[in-house]
């Protein structure tokens, strides 16, 4: 095993990109979180009405959980050791052995079972990522990327969190890099990942994904009837915004994080168009925030006299702006 740098806790905007960034750094590849998020192709938009979570349709601003780890394997040539378990006892034994041997590992967990989360945030969400970097007696030392400081967790709570059942059940998922190429060709990785993201956002073959997906959602919003079922309309609008602004998104549905990636990539490759694309993506993020604000106002309004057409129009602006960004990125020679 190569010598690891001691883990230095930092706070990140998103759990999975944060964990991967920190793991790579401890193995000698020092990239920023936006860089990891961008290179692994973390950005997306998906509105899938027939996949429902707590009776609400799936709305995602980033790729499905686990894709950042997969992206790091594919685009950064990192080799991970990963494992899921049937036997919870075995998972605990192996974790204990690994961290006692000085390994720093990523785990998939359920937020519901993590006692250090604010109670208001402890929903059934099974794809939260965190790092375990040590152990003291019955407690594991945890570096949770979305928290300011390191925390501790009892083995029993961690076991519950790792073996929660339901959608995206973690099944004790553990991962850590075994080989990291610290001198990986970033230019190539950036080029590949941007091309892939652009292609998905512009040309996904189904109407639920990418720019088309945003328009699809706008159409859905336009057809809502607040006078018929005010409560449902409010909960639906609130749901969209929760997915966009909640902890672990960096705000603006990951758009600001992607803009940060484009800017850094532009500097690294000396490409002014990437810098321009970054500014345009920031504008897109701002538009998403204006949309969120309008939704929140509708959620708070006592009556049904808000205009869903106006809200849908704000969303269409996001779609138009994002289309501009991807069309520009498509023409940039990298």
């Amino acid at each position: 095993m190569a010598r690891l740098r001691p883990l230095e806790h930092r706070q990140y905007a998103h759990c999975e990109s944060g964990v991967v960034t920190a793991l790579l750094r401890s193995h000698g590849l020092d990239l920023s979180e936006p860089m990891v998020f961008g290179i692994t192709g973390g950005l997306t938009f998906a509105y899938i009405p027939f996949i429902r979570i707590t009776n609400m349709p799936l709305i995602g601003y980033r790729m499905f959980p686990g894709s950042i780890i997969k992206g790091a394997v594919k685009n950064l040539a990192v080799e991970f050791r990963t494992r899921r378990y049937r036997d919870a006892r075995e998972a605990l034994d192996e974790l204990t052995q690994l961290v006692d041997g000085g390994e720093v590992v990523g785990l998939q967990t359920s937020v519901y079972w993590l006692p250090y989360f604010p109670p208001e945030m402890r929903f059934q969400f099974n794809a939260h990522n965190l790092i375990v970097y040590g152990r003291e007696g019955d407690e594991f030392l945890v570096s949770d990327p979305v928290f300011e400081h390191v925390v501790r967790i009892k083995a029993e709570d961690l076991q519950n969190a790792r073996f929660a059942k339901g959608t995206l059940a973690p099944k004790g998922f553990i991962y850590y890099p075994v080989r990291v190429n610290a001198s990986v060709d970033l230019r190539e990785a950036i080029r590949k990942s941007i091309r892939r993201t652009v292609h998905m956002m512009l040309y996904a073959p189904i109407p639920f994904i990418g720019v088309k997906g945003i328009h699809y959602l706008a159409k859905k919003i336009e057809r809502l009837n607040p006078r018929k079922d005010l409560k449902m309309v409010r909960l639906f609008l609130g749901h969209i915004v929760r997915m966009q602004e909640e902890i672990g998104t960096g705000g603006g549905g990951f758009r600001f994080m992607y803009a940060a990636f484009l800017q850094e990539a532009g500097k690294l490759l000396g490409s002014p168009p990437l810098d321009e694309a970054s500014r345009m993506m920031t504008e897109a993020g701002d538009m998403w925030r204006r949309f969120a604000l309008a939704c929140a106002r509708a959620c708070k309004s006592k009556t049904a006299d808000f205009d869903v057409g106006e809200i849908a129009q704000l969303l269409r602006k996001c779609a138009t702006q994002e289309k501009l960004v991807y069309s520009l990125l498509k023409t940039v020679k990298l």
Binding site: Q11, Y12, A13, E33, P34, T54, N55, Y112, P118, E120, M121, R122, F123, Q124, V146, E148, N160, K165, G166, T167, K231, R234, L235, G238, V241, R242, E245, E246, I247, G250, G251, G252, F256, M257, A259, A260, Q263, G270, S271, P272, P273, E276, R279, T282, G285, D286, A292, L293, C295, A296, C299, T320, Q321, K323, L324, S327, L328, T331, V332, K333
Partner: protein
């Protein structure tokens, strides 16, 4: 490089003129570090979140936020909805119309499908356990699993208080 910049200008011009003449609203609200919302929202309980924002030189940098009011509105909304359902369920438990399982389910912000998934059951089984008659005959293993998920004792599950 110059060529790129030139192409970029042409590109923007074409896109702006043909598809979306009004895309720029003259609103100069970029996500600046100085404009990152700091609303100290209740749901974060004093914690701060990291995010990326633009500094005075136009460079992205990591910054922190104590939350945005919008987030609090939408999070409180869904919590209030569950609390309301839990309150209604509590009344029905006392009238012997449903079991405490329904009450605790809403109290822990789940719906029947989510609860079924985390229990490893089908939804119809969970709904059946809402029936007071079925609930009374539940074995201790099933009750224990519900109690573990809800973070309460089996006693608390069996003896629902008559008043709040």
């Amino acid at each position: 490089m110059n060529n790129d910049t030139f192409m970029l200008k042409i590109h923007r011009f074409c896109l702006l003129s043909e598809m979306c003449p009004r895309v720029n609203d003259n609103e100069e609200t970029t996500m600046k570090t100085s404009e990152v919302p700091q609303d100290d929202i209740r749901t974060l309980q004093g914690a701060k979140k990291a995010l990326y924002a633009v500094d005075d030189q136009g460079n992205y940098t990591r910054s922190t936020t104590s939350g945005w009011d919008v987030e609090e509105v939408v999070l409180t909304q869904v919590i209030d909805d569950f609390e309301e359902k839990a309150g209604a369920a509590a009344l029905r438990v006392r009238k012997n119309e449903t079991s405490p399982i329904e009450y605790f389910m809403y109290k822990k912000w789940m719906d029947p499908l989510t609860l079924a998934q985390v229990m490893g059951l089908y939804r119809w089984q969970v709904k059946r356990h809402f029936k007071p008659r079925v609930f009374k005959r539940l074995d201790d293993r099933t009750l224990g699993e519900y109690a573990r998920i809800f973070g309460v004792s089996i006693g608390a599950l069996k003896n629902f208080p008559e008043e709040d």
